[in-house]
Amino acid sequence: MSRSGVAPNSCCAIWFRAETSRVSTPLAFSPNAGLRISFCNVEKRYGMRMALRGVSLEIAAGECVALVGHNGSGKTTLLKIAAQLSRPSRGELKFYSGETALAPDVVKHRIGMVAHHTLVYDELTAEENLVFFAKLFALPDPAVKARQSLVPVGLAGRAGDLVRTFSRGMRQRLAIARALIASPQLLLLDEPAAGLDPEGQQWLGVTLSNLHASGCTILMSTHGRNETQGAVTRAIRLEDGNITRDSGPGGDPYPVLAMAAVRETSEGDAR
């Protein structure tokens, strides 16, 4: 057990350690094994436009993978397919826990997602939002779980406020709390640093590092260089729906990340 009395291999328990001064009641979560994902020749077509062109990719359990590339390169589509929000037009997606293949309906319990939008209701309070999603995930004691989840994201003091009164950064923190409420084994993040100030980005970077250390598989899309890339163990570049660079499992992701950052900067200057 850690100094705060939290199980060390739990993703959310470790997350709490990032802001121990704000945590009053340590929580115990189940260990996080992380999911293995296999994209097999996945294609996605929107009308005449091909968003993904036969992507084949294996992501091992516990990897932290960054997807980089231009707008429209297929990053969000790949994340949506991994989240089962979108069906591939062709190809197959498989999930494994250890060596066991998992059925799609079983996998949903184990996936958390921070999307481009916040996926929270403006007309509900922060606490009501989390209680609602905790209930949908059939978590025990949803109200307690919701209150506890608001502490590490620094929103405990605003638990009873309507989300529509929140700033973009606060909404993003709530979105992250929502994604992590069911202690996911696979975390999908679509530009998670969007809207966060430098302090928020740093906090998110620490959070992702701790989640990765706990064994959670992370797949995120990212633009340029930011604090969230500290935990990245593998970087993949997508261009026009194809994988053009992959640092590979165990490879050095920083050349791919740096190349993306350079391109982003030069494109920004050109604009």
């Binding site: 989240a83 929000l85 979108s86 939008h117 209701y121 403006d122 999603f133 209930k135």
Partner: protein
């Protein structure tokens, strides 16, 4: 989580959201009130015409209120892409539709029950002696309205001309409900009052068919 429990969670969220803002209920109530008042100007309310034409006008007003009220059902989920959040949850996709159908049914029925006394006064029709059968017809007709309206709201929300599309899709499909509900209501308000089993069975069948269809295609309706 099983289907009824997930639907109940979504229903309670819908009720909480609406009763907090009362935007939809307030707007729809005012709209139907205006429609009923305007319709009442078209003929002499003291005559027997009221009993003949009143039920048809009443159900037309409810139909218009339905197309107005059901529009935001899925449109609201697009603000922060909360429909994706619902679809990420480990629940039966039909439970999303079922929760929203139940909420829409309650909202529509509430509007109808509030406006029934107004209808009775404006059209000079005594509804108290036949309130039981009338509520039964209202409930069956409203299930049809809420079921089809929620399904088409989900379809229309993803289209470009979403504001125009829902009435265009909904009104023709609801023609059978309009006819059956009107005929059943005419029978109830007649002297002597008659509860038509044929029209009630027709309404119940429509409800069952559309609920089953929604259950079968629910997953595909909610996809991008």
């Amino acid at each position: 989580m099983n289907l009824p429990r997930a639907a109940a969670v979504i229903l309670s969220k819908e009720l909480r959201t609406e009763f907090r803002s009362r935007e939809l209920l307030g707007t729809t109530l005012v709209f139907v009130l205006i429609v009923l008042v305007l319709f009442s100007f078209t003929f002499n309310p003291a005559s027997s015409e009221s009993r003949r034409f009143g039920p048809g006008l009443l159900w037309l007003a409810f139909l218009f209120s339905g197309s107005l009220m059901l529009q935001p059902s899925f449109l609201r989920e697009q603000t922060n892409d909360t429909l994706a959040a619902l679809r990420l949850a480990p629940i039966d996709p039909f439970s999303i539709l079922a929760g929203k159908m139940a909420a829409n049914f309650l909202f529509l029925l509430l509007v109808e029950l509030i406006l029934l006394p107004v209808f009775a006064v404006l059209y000079n029709i005594a509804i108290l002696p036949v309130l039981g059968p009338l509520v039964l017809v209202l409930a069956l007709g409203t299930v049809g309205l809420a079921t089809t309206g929620t399904v088409f709201s989900a379809v229309a929300a993803q289209a470009r001309l979403r504001e125009l599309l829902l009435p265009l899709l909904l009104l023709p499909v609801l023609a059978p409900v309009l006819i059956a509900s009107t005929e059943a209501t005419v029978g109830i308000l007649r002297d002597p009052s008659v509860l038509s089993v044929v029209w009630l069975t027709f309404l119940a069948s429509f409800d069952v068919i559309f609920l089953t269809a929604a259950w079968l295609v629910g997953e595909y309706l909610l996809e991008e």
